[in-house]
């Protein structure tokens, strides 16, 4: 029975991780930019939501809508003002990574100047608890489940069947050939930054509504997204979803055996094991991680 409850918690966490991982994968698989500031995007989203909900007293739907919109815009601005100029200079991806690192530091340190360092709670009061069969779920957990199911299927369906989706996949598979075929790479990049950042924002809002937010939530979120991406298989969007759920469930089950404070250690031990024994991830693709200098 405890196992079932843990499994349920793991799946809920897996939903959040999968959202994060797919957002990260959209950006990474298509642009190959290791978007460290994705973590900062996540943090900013939670604070925007806090700002709208608590300071401006907006309703929850309005706050969520506004936050997702602005987060998406932030992603686009980052692409336009930070990565696109580097791209035009044909700077290496390591240069982009270092810029991203700088950007992350800037954004994460701007937040406490406006909102302080302490944990902010978005909604007061305890959560009503629902009993679904043998397991207990809070309202927000249910919301996570529904939102994630909708968004994840939407993203995967769009990627498979829409025109934009096939453009994204084309750029992922071969950027040069995609351009030759008349695909506007700049447009695709803007689209993935907008969509990826919005997904990070959504995951962030859902988490913040549940447990509140403090300035350092971004880095763990980025790490989870990147690790899930690798576990699932770089280059595959479905893989990122699988990786997210795998990580969520596994973390939750391990909590059963050891204390929560070793969660990070376990995540990264897993990462290193995967890099060592199955670098192509669960849903392996042909990309090899050790090739090239990045």
């Amino acid at each position: 029975l405890l196992l079932l409850q843990l499994l349920a918690n793991g799946i809920i966490n897996g939903c959040l991780f999968a959202l994060l991982a797919v957002g990260f994968a959209l950006i990474y698989n298509t642009t190959r930019v290791f978007h460290i500031a994705y973590g900062a995007t996540y943090t900013v989203a939670a604070y925007l939501c806090y700002f709208f909900l608590v300071r401006m007293q907006w309703t929850i739907p309005a706050a969520i809508g506004g936050t997702v919109l602005l987060t998406s815009l932030l992603g686009v601005l980052i692409q336009v003002f930070v990565y696109a100029p580097l791209e035009r200079k044909r700077a290496s991806l390591l240069v982009a990574l270092l810029s991203s690192l700088g950007l992350d530091v800037v954004l994460v340190n701007l937040i406490p100047m406006f909102f302080g360092n302490e944990t902010r709670v978005l909604r007061p009061g305890a959560e009503p608890v629902l009993t679904v069969g043998p397991v207990f779920l809070s309202g927000i957990q249910l919301a996570v489940l529904v939102t994630a199911a909708l968004l994840l299927s939407l993203v995967l369906l769009l990627l498979r069947y829409s025109r934009l989706g096939s453009m994204v996949r084309a750029v992922r598979d071969d950027p040069i050939l995609a351009v030759v075929m008349g695909i506007d790479q700049g447009q695709v990049r803007l689209a993935v930054f907008a969509a990826g950042s919005a997904l990070a924002g959504m995951a962030s809002i859902l988490t913040a509504l549940d447990v509140g937010v403090e300035p350092n939530v971004g880095m763990p979120a980025l790490l989870v997204a990147a690790v899930a991406l690798i576990i699932g298989g770089v280059g595959s969007f479905g893989g990122a979803v699988v990786g997210g759920f795998f990580l969520g469930v596994l973390q939750s089950l391990i909590v059963w055996r050891v204390s929560t404070r070793w969660t990070d250690t376990i995540t990264f031990t897993l990462l290193i094991l995967f890099l060592l024994f199955r670098p192509q991830g669960l849903l392996g693709t042909r990309h090899r991680l050790e090739e090239g200098t990045g």
């Binding site: 190959r32 290791f34 930070v82 100029p85 580097l86 200079k89 700077a91 290496s92 991806l93 390591l94 240069v95 982009a96 990574l97 270092l98 810029s99 690192l101 700088g102 950007l103 992350d104 530091v105 800037v106 994460v108 340190n109 701007l110 406490p112 100047m113 360092n117 880095m219 790490l223 990147a226 690790v227 690798i230 404070r261 070793w262 990070d264 250690t265 995540t267 990264f268 031990t269 990462l271 290193i272 890099l275 060592l276 670098p279 991680l289 050790e290 090739e291 090239g292 200098t293 990045g294």
Partner: protein, 289 residues
């Protein structure tokens, strides 16, 4: 005046950290984000050996250097063959694991409460206990290790490292054992990083895990990149600049909380701007192409 010596001690420590990381990042072209982990391993090993086993500072320092070098094999062997961005993630992972061990292994490290009352180092019967003495002490270390690193990068070994940075496949084709060389340089840098760790512990006489966070690793990398990767003077210039710049902010009399964030924002912006206009840093030879 003590304030001046304090600043110089800090510059020596960060110059040591940046110089050793530069060996990996600047000369060999491997991006690593776990230098603060080795810094922490150095600090904690020295401290624990001095306090729990009553070792003297120098033998404890030596043991810390060896341990840090050995532990670097643990992360280096599985990950050094990875491409740039995955190496960053893997080293970041190691950083998080080490931090979490320092933070959570209460019985060994006293967890978040840290370890107070660390004895000061003794040199020839003399306690190195004033800021001035410590400044000379740390400065001597920085100078000596700087000369050692200079000899290292100018040696044939140093040339092979640069060859790996410029073209790994060509270096391998010339008969160089690239994985072994990468591992060697990574271990050397990790061992070196233990030295400022030990000096830091002996200086502040108190350590806790918050000095060895991911943010610290990012900061050390930023020093190398801003100063100039792949040059001898770069890390030193970077360390001087990055320590002095925030100290200058002190004279603006901002509230401490704002100043701390502002410091970080400045170096983040510096990183973004430099990457745009001058990726090789102020004094660098290597622009991460």
């Amino acid at each position: 005046l003590n304030y001046l010596w304090h600043i110089l001690v800090l510059i020596s420590l960060y110059a040591l950290l940046a110089m050793s990381l530069n060996l990996v990042v600047g000369y060999t072209g491997l991006m690593s984000l776990c230098h603060a982990a080795f810094y922490g391993i150095g600090a904690y090993t020295t401290t624990l050996l001095m306090m729990r086993a009553d070792w003297q500072f120098f033998p404890a320092l030596l043991a810390a250097v060896l341990l840090s070098g050995l532990l670097s094999l643990l992360i280096g062997i599985p990950t050094l063959r990875l491409r740039g961005d995955f190496l960053v993630l893997a080293t970041l992972g190691f950083q998080v694991i080490v931090f979490s061990i320092l933070y959570n292994a209460d019985s060994l490290t006293n967890g978040p409460y840290g370890i107070p009352g660390i004895p000061t180092p003794r040199l020839a019967g003399l306690e190195v206990n004033t800021p001035f003495r410590y400044c000379l002490f740390a400065g001597a270390f920085a100078g000596a290790l700087g000369l050692l690193l200079r000899a290292l990068v100018m040696s044939p070994f140093g040339r092979v490292l640069k060859a790996i940075r410029e073209d790994e496949i060509a270096a391998a084709a010339m008969g160089k054992n690239v994985p072994a060389l990468k591992m060697t340089v990574f271990a050397i840098a990790a061992a070196f990083a233990a030295v400022p760790g030990a000096l830091f512990a002996g200086y502040l006489r108190y350590i806790d895990p918050t000095s060895f966070t991911t943010a610290e690793s990012i900061f050390i990398l930023a020093i190398v990149v801003i100063g100039g990767a792949g040059s001898l003077a770069g890390p030193v210039i970077g360390a001087v600049l990055m320590i002095l710049l925030p100290e200058a902010l002190r004279f603006l009399h901002l509230p401490e909380a704002v100043a701390a964030n502002l410091r970080q924002i400045i170096y983040g912006l510096l990183l973004i701007v430099l990457m745009r206009v001058r990726p090789q840093g102020l004094q660098g030879k290597y622009g991460f192409d």
